[in-house]
Structures are given as C-alpha cells and as structure tokens.
Symmetry: C2
Amino acid sequence: MEFSSKLLQNAVNEMSQLPGIGKRTALRLVLHLLRQPPTQTEYLVNALRELRTEIKFCKKCHSISDIEICEICSNPNRKNTVICVVEDIRDVMAIEATSQYRGLYHVLGGKISPLDGIGPQDLTIQSLLDKVKSGDVQELIFALSATMEGDTTNFYIYKQLEGTAVKISTIARGIGVNDELEYADEVTLGRSIINRVPFENALKNS
Amino acid sequence: MEFSSKLLQNAVNEMSQLPGIGKRTALRLVLHLLRQPPTQTEYLVNALRELRTEIKFCKKCHSISDIEICEICSNPNRKNTVICVVEDIRDVMAIEATSQYRGLYHVLGGKISPLDGIGPQDLTIQSLLDKVKSGDVQELIFALSATMEGDTTNFYIYKQLEGTAVKISTIARGIGVNDELEYADEVTLGRSIINRVPFENALKNS
C-alpha cells in the first residue's frame, strides 16, 4: 500500500498493529476519524492514554480495577471460600452476566504457553497458590478455555496444590442449552455423554 | 456490558465509536493494548493525534497530502487534461495501484446524500467546476461507486457542466476479469452485455 502522506501512513501502520485489523481496515477507521470532528479523535486518544498509564489491578484477584481492592473482592455478600480461576477480565464479565456465581475470582492474566514464551512466572499463579495455602479457600473452579494451553495451566496449578485440602473443579463442558446435537463437535458431544448428570439435577436447574 | 473500571469503560466506549467495531471487539483491542508495552499505546495515540491535527489536503485535487500540492498533481509527466473524479483517497490509491492511469484526480470527499445531510456544498464540487471552466481539462472520468448517491453526484456534476466542451466518461462496469458469470449479479451482467466492446479492443488490452 502506497501512501501520499507520512502522517496517514503512520496512523494506518499503528492502527494495524491491533489484532484482527489489517491495513485496509485500519485505513477505513483512520479516514472515518478524519471525517468526524477533531474532538472524537481527542476523546479516543485521551481514553486510551489514560487507560494505559493509570490502569490498576485489584490487589487480591488481579482483575482490572480503579480501586485497590475491586468491588467483587470487597463485597461482604460474596462467598470468599470459592475462587473461580479465569484468564482475563472478559471471563469475569461473562460469568458475572449470568448472575449464577457468588464466589470470588482470580485472574491469571493468560495461560501457560511455551510457544508464546509465557511461563507460570508470567501469570499470577504464585499469588493464587499463596492465597489457597494461607487462606480459607475451600474450592477452586477452573474456567480456562479448553485448549492445550488451558489444560496445561489447569494441570500445573493442580500439581502445585497436591496435598492441600482444597477441592478443585472445572466448569461443565457440554452441548449449549439451545444447540442442536447434529451441529456439535464430537469432542464436546463425547464429553457431554461421559459427564452426564442425573435427570433430577437437570430438572432442578432448569 | 458492566465494567469494573471507569478507565476501561471509557476506552471501550470510545473505541466502539469506530465503524464496524462493537463493544466486544473494542474490549478485545483495548485488553490487547494493556498486554503490550506502554510504548505501543503511545505510538498509536501520537500517530492518531498528529494525523488529526496536522492533516493537510492538496490544494488542487483535495487528496490527503503532507505538502501543499500533492506528488501526483505536481508531477509534470502526468496528463493534466484528464481528471478522474473519486470519492476519497482510497480510490486514488486503488487506481494508482493499477499503473494504468496517467491523468490527475479530483477527490470529492464523499457523495451527495440527502439522507445523510450531505449536499453539493459539503463536497469539493465547486472547486472541480471552477477547474473545468477555467482550465484546459478535456475529459472528466467519473469513478464513484455505482449507488444511488454515486449516480446522483455524477448527474449533478454533469448538469452543472452542460454547455462546456469537456468530455465526460465513466469507468466501465462489467464482470470482473477472474469472475464466473454464474455468480455475477444481474445488473452487472446486464450492463456488461449492453456495454459490450469490440473483440479487437479486448484483444488489444489483454
């Protein structure tokens, strides 16, 4: 792509560093900003800069939070004996949106992934282990994605906690509530048969 | 979407003002920036701010240009008697990439679109008319998109130039060189039959 303007080229190049944004999309976005009043670019630029420089993480669960201990961790009505282990804040938001979970979270900040150079020390795993070993945590719920990296991370934490009394569970994998069996992948369908639940339980939860 | 952080919420909101970027994608992009070194956000923010505040347009063709008269307009090897009329700089870049056109351009900055509140006075039409009436332009090539707005804009300019000697043409519409007939839409296929060209011409250009 040849540009008639260095300024334009720079903006497009930086924009296309974002995941899933190619040069063509970046150009479309940047030209859109040029057609809008300058204040729109100013607001965007300020919001991004402030977020990046002033971002804070909850001291307990490591989720993004403007205050030292986030609202979930400091809520006395939440069960602090159960901790759901997730990758990032999007997972927290998704689980919170269900209104089905009243425990706390622990945000790892990613998964163990040797190929990407991410080891246990790059995540908040030590803080989780300390929490479990020193606190009154009774149950950990693994809610990482069902990929090799997710499984590796789960297994690593599980091994580190061998010998402790904490109960470790993982979220149920199965056919989505509104999904048709014929479109489900074999692995999911297989797991959903192996991990079948008593019909009375299903009745209770529906 | 409920956010645990005002900073995060702000950044996501501003990001999702961009066309084609929903809240979910905006969150993904913003979290990506948080995982990268702060310099990446800084570069992006600076590039966007500089572009928006320092952007200049060529005095002749109104394309984006860091210099007063853009490289195309100031190139003595280009034919200044032919002007290709386009919507925005993307069209200029697309046509330049073909290396088939040696004339000049005129960037309108959009199309006449009453529904969006865009009239002739919001575009650079007057400047085009002045150029044609006072200069030695022999041909205008309309290369706007084949939508109602594009056709309206073409027709408006055409009417304003009635009585002048300038020749007005429009780019050929037809089946793409590598496209299959069975997948072409009826309008395009219909036009390509009506506007058929002598086989000798096609031979010459292939």
